[in-house]
Amino acid sequence: MLRLILDRVLFSIVTVLAVGLCLFVLTRSIAGTPARIVLGTDATEAQIAQFDVDHGLDRPVLVQYGKWIWGIAGGLDFGTSLVSGRAIGPDLRDSLPITLELVLLAFAFAVIVAIPLGVLSACYRGSVVDHASRIVAVLGVSIPGFWLGLMLIRFPAVEFGWFPPGGFVPWSDGAMEHLRSLAMPAFALGVYYIAILSRMTRSGLIDVSGLDYMRTARAMGLSRGRILLYALKNALVPVVSVGAMSFGYMFGWALIIEYLFNLPGMSNALLTAINNRDYDTVEAVVLIFTVFFIVSNIAADIINAWLNPRLGATA
């Protein structure tokens, strides 16, 4: 178990470093010189050379990358944006919690609805519940989040006035209002994953319930709840993997949903940065999301090894 965790963590660190390097080199090689962007087209060659020396841009890419990564690893110092001249870290500290909260709410919503739904439709296969959950799943997979978001803004918000059509209310202005401002975005973000996760739970449970140990458990006269618990432990393995991956993907979708609902999260930061050609901020945002994605995958491996120790032993 410990070896598995260690192995995963080490490999993930290597992955983050390698993937971050790709991003860094790609940005540096494609974006043109930042000096040109900051100083404008009128700047002389000498001014540009001076700018590069001042900001360490004349040094080898690997050295620049090392310095960047070292700053982040050492104290979450993402450096200073060359375009705006502001430190990147504090700017992201304001927007990251909003995105994080949106994704967590959506994920919690998806898991809380999907797993019971999957269990119910597996237990009562072919029943009304099963068919209803299949319809929910098909709808959830086929309706894109941004269209659903537009519809939510159009009807529950604008027409009926149940929710604010967009914008963000901070905690300090009241918990209820705060949650109300996040409810529709979280719903729009989570519906797709309800569909995926509930179907995976259902098929996982149905696969497992045919196995020998389940027959033995039934023959021994264990209670229904206990049998379900044993079945779930194995059935949830693929659900956890996919769930963790979904969690990582949700950050990508969250950008679109935030854009739609006008939430001041990372999407705002990323788009502003892209518009201003502020590549330092773009790199920081993408690196943060990549780390979240990788961490959620490690978490899945560890949860699975804990649910099912055989996986830990073979890895």
Binding site: F146, Y249, V282, V286, N297
Partner: protein, 241 residues
């Protein structure tokens, strides 16, 4: 005449399969026949008729510029289908080649290097990278050697390369599960992937043209790959377990 294979007959008997198949045929048909069936010019701007509701001369209404939405959807299906199809092909060529190589050199360092490398590619959050890279590279065509890459070409190369990790993983696991059938499984997955991407692309083209927001349009073109990954990856995880 040969009889249809049993699985095809079984599929044809299912209502959901028929409905799904009809949608796919409809979308692909619309894409192919776009110049014949689109009622208007998809890019003709007509400010006097902007933001019309559905009905009349414009079956689905018009956007801010007075462009006919139905025509834009029909023409948009072409771009979406092309991007997703070629991205899958690129991903498949790279992924299957690497996967076959890894499966062939099973247990050696070659497999290790390839699979770990592919794990790294798989740990890239596609959507964010795509947004950021499109933002960085810009929407102008790029010159790569003798080729000029337009916007959708850049996108499909990017998606294709990222997809390749899924394909090689599939091949390697396939090799372990059914040692002599890796080639056949590669073919099957290609078919599956094409089907999924076509359906995803159809929905996309529609929404992208519907919103008329250029930014959302850019994002949309990337979606089929994500749909693909979520469909493909669960199987890998389960086989690994």
């Amino acid at each position: 005449m040969r009889r249809a294979p049993a699985w095809l007959a079984a599929l044809a008997g299912q209502a959901s399969c028929l409905v799904g198949g009809a949608i796919v045929v409809l979308v692909i048909g619309a894409a192919i026949l776009a110049p014949l069936i689109a009622p208007h010019d998809p890019v003709a701007i007509d400010i006097e008729n902007s933001l019309l509701p559905p009905g009349g001369d414009y079956l689905l209404g018009t956007d801010q510029g007075g462009r006919d939405l139905l025509s834009r959807i029909i023409w948009g299906a072409r771009v979406s289908l092309m991007v997703s199809l070629l991205a899958v092909v690129i991903g498949m060529v790279f992924g299957v080649l690497l996967g076959l190589l890894a499966a062939h050199r099973r247990g050696g360092w070659v497999q290790h290097v390839i699979m770990r490398g592919m794990d790294m590619v798989a740990s890239i959050p596609l959507l964010i990278w795509a947004i950021a890279l499109v933002g960085i590279i810009g929407v102008q065509p790029v010159q790569v050697g003798p080729f000029t890459l337009g916007n959708e070409h850049k996108l499909l190369v990017l998606i294709g390369l990222l997809l390749s990790s899924a394909f090689s993983a599939i091949i390697v696991y396939a090799q372990e599960l059914v040692p002599h059938r890796a080639g056949m499984i590669a073919g099957l997955f290609f078919g599956l992937a094409f089907g999924v991407s076509a359906v995803g692309a159809a929905g996309l083209g529609e929404i992208a043209d519907h919103t008329g927001i250029e930014f959302i349009y850019k994002l949309c073109s990337i979606l089929p790959a994500i749909g693909l990954l979520t469909v493909l990856l669960p199987n890998i995880e389960r086989k690994k377990a």
